[in-house]
């Protein structure tokens, strides 16, 4: 893979228009925008273009990527000196000075990276060197202010014919005799990601110098959108923690809904109470990690997957196919009781308005007594004072629990 990393701009496949716009911006001396944001899905050549262009035009890259902390302090410590002063070698013929490259800016998140975006904007405005940013998803809310100060360049997914061309070129250089259909299959499997296509070709071509369509059939599908029922089936039939874990990594299910579904289906999976207890222990540990992850700490996701996968592999030998409960019972019950909950909230709103209390307080402290009063005697004074409709009165009288 490293051998075929693009070294020159023309080595980068596809996105000719984006490449031309970027090069024009990099070469121009009086830039209308001081920064550029390259965006597009992974493996389309954003980082490769920056590296190749910097090498070709003699820039020294100062890079901060997702593995670095990008808080206000860190950005100011690293990026500010690199962009505020012109490097001494700028005055030599070979070098054009520094270039600040912030990769995966859409990944700036959480407490660790607090103030990072505003610090970057400040740097862009004062910078004396080109500032280049790359993102997979530019629609992230926090990037909105950043987009205003950047020239946006969109990278499309690489088309199949272009990936096939690249694979053909690599095969020719590596003396691998590959069938056109085999390369076509690798390219289709990569879903526009050149990096993964080259990786697949490398893994298949390393073993033999003749590549047929049959050889490529063993490739694991990439980016496959595995739905809930498929994920549940694969999860419960997993023979090991690794198998269940790799399935979870590939699936795109909602984790909250998935853990509820697992919890509902565990008694059907494990009929032995001891095994069931162990499995529920693992699910509860996984749930703890899900709570800690929240919306920010996604680095804990592996622990969530690991604990959940352990629940699937408590007794792999005892697996028998069963019918799944899906969607989760909790979601179904919320769906069925939505009408009742809306009615109760409406009543509590009326009580709250008359008694000057919150809806929650009305629900827990007033409704039980009003219910008893109405059951004993349908007091017209109380009904008219609270302005309850006959349906609401009927609902309160017949209500079992709230």
């Amino acid at each position: 893979m490293e051998k075929y990393r693009p070294k020159k701009i023309e080595d980068i496949v596809g996105n000719e228009e984006a490449k031309a716009t970027f090069i024009e911006w990099l070469k121009s001396k009086r830039k209308t925008k001081k920064a550029v944001l390259l965006y597009g899905s992974p493996g389309v050549g954003k980082t490769a273009l920056v590296n190749a262009a910097a090498k070709e035009f003699g820039f020294t890259i100062i890079e901060m990527n997702a593995s670095d902390t990008r808080s206000e302090k860190a950005v100011n410590e690293i990026a500010k000196p690199a962009t505020s002063y012109l490097a001494l070698d700028t005055f030599t013929a070979e070098s054009k000075g520094n270039l600040l490259f912030l990769d995966e800016v859409d990944g700036i998140a959480g407490n660790e990276d607090r103030g990072g975006v505003s610090a970057i904007i400040d740097i862009v405005e004062k910078s004396r060197v080109p500032v280049i940013m790359a993102a997979n998803d530019p629609e992230v809310d926090k990037l909105r202010p950043l987009k205003k100060v950047c020239l946006l360049i969109r990278f499309h997914q690489i088309r199949l014919p272009l990936i096939i061309t690249l694979l053909q070129k690599i095969c020719l250089l590596e003396h691998v005799k590959a069938d056109f259909e085999a390369l076509e299959h690798i390219a289709q499997n990569s879903k526009g990601d050149v990096r993964s296509a080259i990786n697949d070709l490398q893994s298949l071509g390393e073993e033999n110098h003749v590549l047929t369509l049959q050889d490529t059939m063993a490739l694991a599908p990439r980016n496959k959108d595995i739905r809930m029922d498929e994920t549940l089936r694969g999860f419960f039939s997993a023979k090991s923690v690794d198998e269940a874990s790799s399935l979870l990594f590939r699936s795109s299910v909602d984790y909250d809904e998935f853990i509820m579904s697992v919890s509902d289906n565990l008694p059907r999976r494990y009929t032995n109470p001891d095994e069931l207890a162990v499995a529920y222990d693992y699910v509860s540990q996984a749930d703890l990690f899900r709570g800690r992850i929240g919306t920010e700490y996604w680095h804990l996701l592996k622990y969530f997957f690991n604990d959940l996968s352990k629940a699937a592999a408590v007794a792999p030998e005892s697996y028998k196919p069963f019918e799944f409960i899906s969607p989760p019972i909790r979601i179904i019950s919320l769906f069925w009781t939505k009408g009742k909950r809306t009615m109760l909230n409406g009543i509590c709103g009326k009580i709250g308005a008359q008694c000057h209390v919150s809806i929650s307080k009305a629900k827990h402290e007033f409704v039980p007594f009003i219910k008893i009063m109405l059951q004993k005697q349908k007091s017209s004074a109380l009904i008219s004072w609270l302005e309850l409709t006959p349906e609401e009165v009927d609902f309160l009288v017949k209500m079992n629990r709230y």
Binding site: N15, E16, A18, L152, L162, T165, L172
Partner: protein, 112 residues
């Protein structure tokens, strides 16, 4: 009917001021001497295509330029058209003839 336009230069009927301003704002360039439009910025290409389609009152696609032989061809000629996630844009690809022809490919590699 689908009209295939060349992104490097195409003609449009005379449009009112608002439409012209919109086209320029969306990233088109206009050459007054040759009366030709060309695409300068590709970020809003979907909106450009929609606006041109509304002006011409028909479906519009831009032709692709083959990176090997330089020939212009529409995406509809490609057998991967249904699988392609970036149909009709951007405008560089490999034409079906060049893709299958090994001799042409080796000639292309020699040129690089």
């Amino acid at each position: 009917m689908v009209i295939v336009l060349n992104p490097k230069g195409f003609k449009l009927p005379r449009v009112e001021k608002e439409k012209f301003t919109l086209l320029i704002r969306l990233g088109l360039d206009y050459n007054r001497e040759q009366c030709l439009y060309s695409i300068k910025n590709f970020n809003n290409i979907e909106k450009v295509i929609d606006t041109i389609a509304s002006i011409l009152n028909t479906e519009v696609v831009f032709s692709q330029t083959c990176i090997r032989c330089g020939k212009n061809f529409p995406c509809s000629e490609c057998k991967y058209n249904d699988l392609c996630a970036t149909k009709d844009q951007p405008f560089s690809c490999v034409c079906p003839q060049c893709l299958r022809d090994r001799k042409l490919f080796e000639e292309y590699l020699e040129k690089l």
